[in-house]
Symmetry: C2
Subunit: 422 residues, 2 copies
């Protein structure tokens, strides 16, 4: 197994040497030209067809079709979907990721995170805030109006600001140190991003002020970012994708390069098996529900946000975020470190630059090894938001979910076949 | 002792029912009219005369005299000080506080925190950032130029922004919940204010954008606040003063209402003994020094910032801020909670609204009881910055310092006399 260990060292070194920078906001079709070809919709998770999509995913699809002007209304969009007029693909196939339903289409603004160490870019749409939002399947006028405002106002202003930060030492917003600070401020970057959202605003706001020509718009943009504790989530996700893409296709490596869910299936990719998906039915999160909702309202687990756990944050960094433990119903806050220690059992290494002060600066568990998942019978712990199963209602809670063991079993079999041992 | 316990309950209830709001920035003389009478200088700590002032305090005095236009240069200012031309008083005598040297004079901008539950206001100057600054005795042209910019640009813009937030529900920036969030984000609000500084900027920046008429100035103001991790310290101090002033003069109460140091003496005030100072020589902090400096460079402990510990934060809230433990040389980060638990031994109660997630939401120790300090032989733990003993050099480290036991012994004797038991 020495050659596998050596391949995994290569994988870890690529992860640890990544240098992700938030550099721009662009129109999606400008960086993913395929989006201009047809009525193409990128979604969260592994590949899926309309007939197998869950409620919120369907809600988001019909909403985004109206947003793109392909349909006059939601019912027309639904008919088009049923007739197969939309071309569905996973975000992951196009250097992109998206939270929950994860819609990415031609005219949406996407944030660009560049991994400066490897030269690759990754994309994610801008976080819409809480309440009725498209990532939870929301699709009414208020949802679409917000997407229009993100496209026409916030996105372009953020782009101008980030570009104005080019050329000097900063070159946009460097994310590696920002994450390190966030970990010392109670964020795990999946269900808690309040610190990183604030740190990002601190860096962005002087540039936003410099490039803005409309004080009212500027004020609204600052208020939108400043009142959204999860604003950073989408930045962190693009960062995760930018870090993991160069880790793909390392021969013999058993390190997981992506985990994602579409609300129906959970999929993982492993470095040594390239772009193959190992897919199993997605599980139900266990967690706490907002007032008025119960587990009966919950949609199964959904979104590309598990890229955050793939790089050692989220559920893997729970020890940094005791306040999250209560929020996701994961027991006493003082026990949060147990999750981090347990996840260390399925990773190759720790990240020496992303450390947890309260654990005496232990690094977050880094590089999920398929072999260790099987050996320990422990699957990755994921901190997740819970969507209502009906489209258009939104988030109903937050909880913990495990990646299905079947994905890792399939992956191990595929590796065994490649290695000639099966 | 039942009547003392009852009096201390009153003190605690006043502390816990405080409702501090950052409402304004004003010119000091407009709210402290005595500052206009003569060459009056308010300083940190209990009363002190020029001949007993430490190096940084003297440096700040000469600098602020030049800033106020009373002297053409530092040596002229020194001569004036020696001839007794300045009228020195503690900040604490005028509803004010100041960090380190704590200079407050007529034309400086001061932030106003109103305790809405009791109607009293408290004042503190604006934090200057790190490096060569007046609070560490800095007094060269760069230091004075920054004070001019704070007076002419940042102060007035911040005032306009805060006033624009009046009238709606927010009425400035409410601080009680902001502190609660900061405690869940690794701040203890004395040596670590990065979270609260960010949370404050989030609330202020939309208003700053709305009222600004100069994009370059706005950008500079946002960058100044956003790059100063200790920006919030001075807000927290004014908040502490606003919380504690209504706790003064409760007959029979043994709760400490102020702790402060002028670099020569440490002074405390106790509720039942009113405005009397109990003073003892200040101690040297034990801590860690910035590269190139050692304990031989250190000035004794200084500043009104111990108002933060007086309300249960700073060293008392160390459990919330494991990253601070290393910064101040207080042992392993994982042991930070020990400081909080120990300080609970000298307080009357815990604060149910200011809790520490990693300690399963234990409230910060609140209301230092002079009797308990004597009984346990434990004096308050203070997280402090360390100034160079020469004026004009600045901060050289950070550490832990204890309030001198002699202050508490004097206070207990005075209480005993009042109670007729001595």
């Amino acid at each position: 197994m020495e050659h596998i260990n050596a391949a995994n060292r290569v994988a870890i070194e690529r992860m640890l040497s990544a240098d992700p920078i938030l550099i721009d906001v662009v129109t999606a079709v400008d960086v993913i030209p395929e989006l201009g070809n047809s009525k193409m919709i990128l979604h969260a998770g592994p590949p899926i067809t309309w007939d197998r999509m869950c409620g919120p995913m369907r809600g988001a699809v019909t909403g985004i079709a109206v947003f793109e002007g392909w349909a006059a209304n939601l019912s027309e969009a639904e008919g088009m979907a049923e007739r197969g007029e939309f071309d569905f693909h996973p975000n992951h196939h196009f250097s992109a990721v998206g939270p929950m339903t994860g819609m990415t289409t031609a005219s949406q603004p996407v944030m660009v995170v560049r991994n400066r160490a490897f030269g690759n870019d990754a994309y994610c749409a801008i976080n819409e805030g809480l309440g009725k939002v498209m990532r939870f399947g929301g699709n009414d006028e208020s949802v679409l109006a917000r997407l229009v405002w993100l496209r026409d106002v916030l996105g372009p202003l953020m782009a101008k600001a980030l570009r104005s930060m080019q050329g000097d030492d900063t070159q946009g917003v460097a994310l590696k140190n920002l994450i390190a600070r966030g970990l010392s401020m109670g964020d795990e970057m999946h269900q808690r991003n309040v610190a990183c959202s604030g740190l990002l605003l601190r860096e962005l706001s002087p540039a936003l002020a410099k490039v803005s020509t409309d004080a009212t718009q500027l004020s609204k943009v600052l208020a939108f970012i400043g009142s959204n504790d999860q604003f950073f989530l989408n930045v962190g996700m693009a960062m995760g994708k930018a870090i993991m893409d160069p880790v793909r296709n390392i021969e013999h490596s058993t390190v997981v390069t992506a985990m994602c869910r579409n609300g129906t299936d959970f999929g993982i990719r492993v470095s040594g098996t390239g772009d193959q998906w190992f897919v199993a039915p997605v599980e139900m999160p266990e967690g706490l529900y907002f007032p008025g909702f119960t587990a009966a309202d919950a949609n199964p687990d959904m979104g590309d946000s598990t890229i955050v756990e793939t790089i050692g944050l989220g559920g893997f960094a729970m020890g940094a975020a005791p306040a999250v433990a209560g929020f996701v119903g994961a027991g006493n806050a003082s026990g949060a470190a147990v999750y981090t220690r347990t996840m260390r059992g399925i990773t190759v290494d720790e990240n020496p630059e992303w450390t947890i002060p309260s654990m005496d600066y232990t690094g977050v568990p880094t590089g999920i090894d398929v072999r260790r998942v099987i050996d320990t019978n422990l699957t990755p712990t994921i901190n997740t938001g819970i969507a209502h199963r009906e489209p258009g209602i939104g988030q109903v809670g937050a909880g913990i979910v495990r990646a299905p063991m079947a994905c890792f079993e399939q992956a191990l079999r595929a590796i065994a076949t490649l290695e000639g041992v099966a």
